[in-house]
Symmetry: C2
Subunit: 267 residues, 2 copies
């Protein structure tokens, strides 16, 4: 007879999933050339994305300007609408998912808003997340939490960021107990607006995001590790002109890494 509670079983299952994800993330970014990296990503996504993404899924991308990416907010109620998805990583992921999983009836939305910090996601969470009832929810948030503090427009700390982020994820898992969460690592590249003042504080924000993913047993996409590897092939500005907002190349690489990570994650 199984003496574990349902909650414990869920936790254990989630923990195993998370361990798989971490291993895949490492394999994807460490010691592989970029071309080999994306090749392995492709093979993985072709073979295994079905384990995480399921028929009938509602997929929601949430975050700040990197997710917003010029989307037409007047069309945000339309699933799979090219203008509603912006021109960033969410669109590239959508184009691949919708092409490959044509029989799955997926509904893909983006609700990223430029300038958002984690507490601002919380303020609009009922309308811009819970009401959509996503079964897959991908969040990328954090760079403004530090950036707006550095430029004097916000009085934040890494402790506030982590506390707010934990509260948001706890609320989400309570309201949507079946949701499969994908937390994306905040990242910067050392160019443009990103100077020495960002460090080492920014690394603490990244570590906080990873802790939240680990503690809540979500999938974690290691974007900073990916870009740290990418700058060995082309300079930081090739991937993000101002160090924060990805170019086509940067967003394309993010889409590949998101796929690779999600493909290795257990649902």
């Amino acid at each position: 007879m199984d003496v574990h509670s349902a909650g414990e079983r869920t936790s254990r299952r989630r923990f195993l999933g998370n361990t798989m994800t971490a291993a895949a993330g490492l394999a994807a970014v460490s010691g592989l050339s970029l071309s080999g990296c994306s090749e392995s990503m492709r093979r993985a996504s072709g073979q295994k994305s079905s384990q995480f993404i399921r028929s009938g899924d509602v997929v929601l991308f949430q975050g700040d300007s990197i997710t917003d990416a010029g989307r037409d907010r007047n069309r945000e109620g339309n699933a799979n609408d090219v203008r509603a998805l912006g021109t960033g990583y969410a669109l590239y992921i959508a184009s691949q998912l919708l092409a490959e999983r044509a029989d799955a009836g997926l509904k893909i939305y983006s609700r990223g808003i430029s300038g958002n910090k984690v507490f601002q996601l919380a303020e609009r969470w009922d309308k811009d997340c819970l009401a959509l009832k996503p079964s897959v929810l991908s969040i990328l948030i954090g760079v403004n939490d530090i950036w707006h503090t550095l430029n004097g427009n916000y009085n934040g700390t890494v402790e506030v960021y982590e506390k707010d982020y934990r509260a948001l994820i706890e609320r989400t898992q309570r309201e949507l107990p079946e949701v499969r969460l994908v937390l994306c690592e905040p990242f910067v590249l050392r160019t443009g607006a990103v100077n020495d003042k960002w460090f080492p504080e920014f690394d603490r924000y990244r570590a906080a995001a990873r802790r939240v993913a680990t503690d809540f047993h979500t999938t974690f996409v290691p974007f900073q590790a990916m870009f740290d590897e990418a700058v060995k092939t082309a300079p930081p500005g090739y991937w993000a002109g101002d160090g924060v907002h990805p170019t086509i190349a940067g967003a394309g690489l993010m889409a590949q890494t998101w796929f690779s990570t999600v493909s290795h994650a257990k649902a």
Copy 2:
């Protein structure tokens, strides 16, 4: 001693390249499930795109609204500019190429214009093609040549289309003897604006495009065969709402097939 002229050698090399391409196109679309298809496309593109796409390449996408895809024409002089590339297949190809070939210094442009027929490409070819000196030129043109005839706004025939197309490619190869050409098959899906009146005439336009590709020894991307396979998995409107303009899913699939075909082509 080689008795073949330089021109004959070039033709022979091009013929072999074309044969490879045709075989790859068939493999990509015949008898494979879509997921298997895209998996093989991914493997191919990861391994072989370097044979066709080279360091320093200037890649130009040309065509009609399917290539235009809402691009910002005020930015068309900027290479690798997300707003200059629209939100269609050209952008998805660019996101993948720029991510994977970060060390190649690629410059990617789009100059598709909505409503264009092949003679209208010719009218703006000096400015919108030859002046850019592309080393890789991908063209998708033809659907308006028949559509505007069917709706009474143009007095075209398939003979005019083929004659104009041949003249355009001949001029391009004369002015840019080293250019690697990718001709894309015009396609429609039987939904929306596309009714029985289109057939069998439309098949003659497709055949003409294929003849031009064969006779000028260019790479040929079999988009119609791809969509004919795709509608076995999801209905025509999933891929192109009006039967002509691809959705995100349709454009995503086009990008994958373009990659697959180009990856198998010899430069």
